[in-house]
Every structure is written in structure tokens, then in C-alpha cells.
Symmetry: C2
Subunit: 187 residues, 2 copies
DNA sequence: CGCGTAATTGAAAAGTATCAACACTGGTGG
DNA sequence: CCACCAGTGTTGATACTTTTCAATTACGCG
């Protein structure tokens, strides 16, 4: 499912209007570009203005696993800014993507001085955590068919927007299995 | 794996000494008791002083899936306090458990007024999220044998402390499969 | 048209669940 | 002291699900 965070996007947009400094800058990426790379240091926090990215890990055995698809208002790089570790996942643009980029040091300042911003981040983190936990519990406890039906129900147009390979990587299965199950539930 | 958070426990312990009010109170639970129930409102935030709890979801098909085992210093109930939703999981004592209990309203106050506490929570959330994401990516991308070896490597005494059924629920498999794989890697 | 990428499919192999039967353990009461 | 019981763990046989792998088709674009 493609995650969104309208509240955060609105807050950042308004914030940008008030502070005309260059602490928050816009940046563009085209399809296939990596915005954040795995196991590298991250110096900025990003909030998506438009477009879709995938957040995925490449495992030691070469398998890609997609954590989430990020849409408008979703934030990334914040985990690395908060705990100072290298990124554990890779963020890649799926189509044309525009982001707001915040320097990590300024992000820290905002967390300390702007209570509303702080609350937005706390909420964003807790929503991400809830979503991740619930999704994985469902994934592990249900059949492939249930998982696919749930995905289609939550986001009917996903199959048109995202490649089969990516959907398979999101569900943690092979494209072959995806096709087999799709053919059993479609007709 | 059993998660811990020494920093947070230390901070709360010190905080408790300074403020001798009844805003943070100690509470005990015995093995099998539910501390937080699924899909219920939560009015407090808990930090584990001693003992082990399991954090699990019961799915609509009756399957239990264990998210994490919580040890000393781990916090729960904070997600519900932050976003105001009902609990999505159940917290149950595995052995004798002592916790510090913080009223949700006081927790909110602390977040606003105590910057250090706020940072502790931000770090706790981001660590939980990183851990959850990495674990599930690994789980979905590797064989059962790899998952089990990883678990044993991370926490060698787990099998002695926790029931087979719980370990199976943690890995998202049946006890039968757990036994089969155990017998292939042990001798 | 021809090329590269993505999508599709079949058949065999590997992995996992299901289910029922059996073993082990500690506690209880006759 | 033994029989019984409940909970937990173990195991084998079978059915089902998913992966693997290779071959084939479909599609977009210079």
C-alpha cells in the first residue's frame, strides 16, 4: 500500500512559506534514481511533495524486500537523523518525485524548538510503526491469496502503478506465485 | 529476540527518585497476565523494570503472531498515547514482571516539557521501527533454517526461557516445522 | 523492424502445514 | 505409592503451497 501523510505535508508547506531561508529546499528525482542508499550515512531528512518512492532492503542473499511505498507527505531519513546510524534501507523513486529536503542538523533543531513539528514526527513514527507491525503480522499469518486480496482492497490501482516484480517483493513472494494467485482470484 | 532499553530504564529510575509524587508508580504482574489487551483503550504507558513480556497480535483467523519479546527498559503503550488509538497488540507477562506505570496525560506532559525524555522516546520509537523493519525483511527473505539460526545466534538461551509455541508464533511457523528444522541443525 | 525489459507459463523439486498419535513432565488425590 | 490428568513437546505420513528454472510471449521505444 502507498503510505501518505497529509498533515505533515501541509505543516511543512506552511512552514516553508514563513521561513524563507534555505533550510528547507525542494529537490527533484526521476524514475529509478536512488534518493537514499542502504548502509550509507544520511545527512538530510526528506518529505515527499509529489510522486511515489519505494523503501526496500537488499538482503545478503540478494533478495529485495520492499517495506513500504511512500506517497505524498511521507518522511524518510528521520530514523537515521534521530539515532545517528547509517540507513538500513534504500529509497528509490518509482516515478517523477519531488521532495522537501531538510538538513539533519536543522531537523534536530526543529525537534527541540518546534513542539508542533515534534508532535508531527512522533505521530509519523508511531503510525509507521503501527502500520509496519500490523502488516507483517497479517502477512505472516495469512495465505498468499488473503494477502493479495487485502492489498488489492486497500489499493485497487496498485497493480497499474507498480511493476509486478515490486509487488512480489512487497509481499515477499516470487513473481510466479503472484501470477498464479492473480489468475485464481481474477476470473 | 528479547529487546531491551537500558538508557530509558536508567532515566526513568533517576526521574522517579527526583519526583516523589505518584505520577510514576510501580506495578507487578505474574506469568500469563495480560497487561495490555488488544483493541482496547490504553490509559497508561509502561516501562519494564524486570521480567519478560510478549507483544503479540491475534489475527482474525485465530493465529497469534508475536511481534517482539520485551525485556528490561522496553516501553509499551506509548504508541496508543501518542496517536490516541486503541491498542493493536496484546502485552502479556511471560514470567514475573515489574513495570513502571505512567499515566498517559503525564506522559504527554513529559514529552512536551522534558526534552531529554522526549529524545529518549524518539530514539526508542526509531529503534523499534528499525528493528521491526529489519527483522521482517529478513524473515520474509530467508529460509526457515536461516531465521532460526539467526534467532539462536542473537539469543542462545531463548529456547530455554520461552515455550516452543511462542517461538513458533514469533517466527510465523507451526511447532511441527520448528521441530523439524531444529532436529536438522542440532546434531 | 529489432532490441531490451517486463510479464507469463509449465513441470519438477523443495518446503511447509495439517492432523492424529504418542511421549514427557509435574501436580493432584485416592 | 500409584493412577490419573492437563499441559507441553515430539513425531510420521500425507496433502498442499511455493519456489525454481527455463522457455516463451508481450510491450515500449529508438
Amino acid at each position: 500500500m502507498i503510505r501518505k501523510n497529509a498533515d505533515l505535508l501541509q505543516y511543512i508547506t506552511e512552514k516553508l512559506l514563513k521561513e524563507s531561508e534555505d533550510t528547507i529546499i525542494a529537490q527533484s528525482f526521476s524514475s529509478g534514481e536512488k534518493i537514499v542508499d542502504q548502509k550509507k550515512r544520511v545527512f538530510s531528512v526528506y518529505i515527499i511533495k509529489s510522486g511515489i518512492t519505494k523503501c526496500y532492503l537488499t538482503e545478503d542473499n540478494g533478495v529485495d524486500f520492499i517495506q513500504e511505498f511512500f506517497g505524498e507527505g511521507e518522511i524518510f531519513g528521520e530514523l537515521e537523523a534521530i539515532n545517528g546510524e547509517v540507513s538500513f534501507c534504500c529509497i528509490e523513486a518509482i516515478n517523477a518525485v519531488e521532495v522537501y529536503k531538510i538538513e539533519a542538523s536543522y531537523f534536530d533543531q526543529l525537534l527541540e524548538k518546534d513542539i508542533t513539528f515534534n508532535k508531527h514526527i512522533l505521530k509519523a513514527l508511531s503510525k509507521k510503526l503501527t502500520y509496519t507491525a500490523v502488516r507483517h503480522a497479517y502477512n505472516q499469518s495469512h495465505t498468499l491469496e488473503d494477502n493479495l486480496l487485502r492489498l488489492i482492497h486497500q489499493f485497487p490501482t496498485l497493480i497499474d502503478e507498480i511493476s509486478k516484480q515490486d509487488i512480489a517483493n512487497y509481499l515477499g513472494i516470487t513473481p510466479r506465485s503472484l501470477n498464479r494467485v492473480l489468475s485464481t482470484i481474477k476470473p
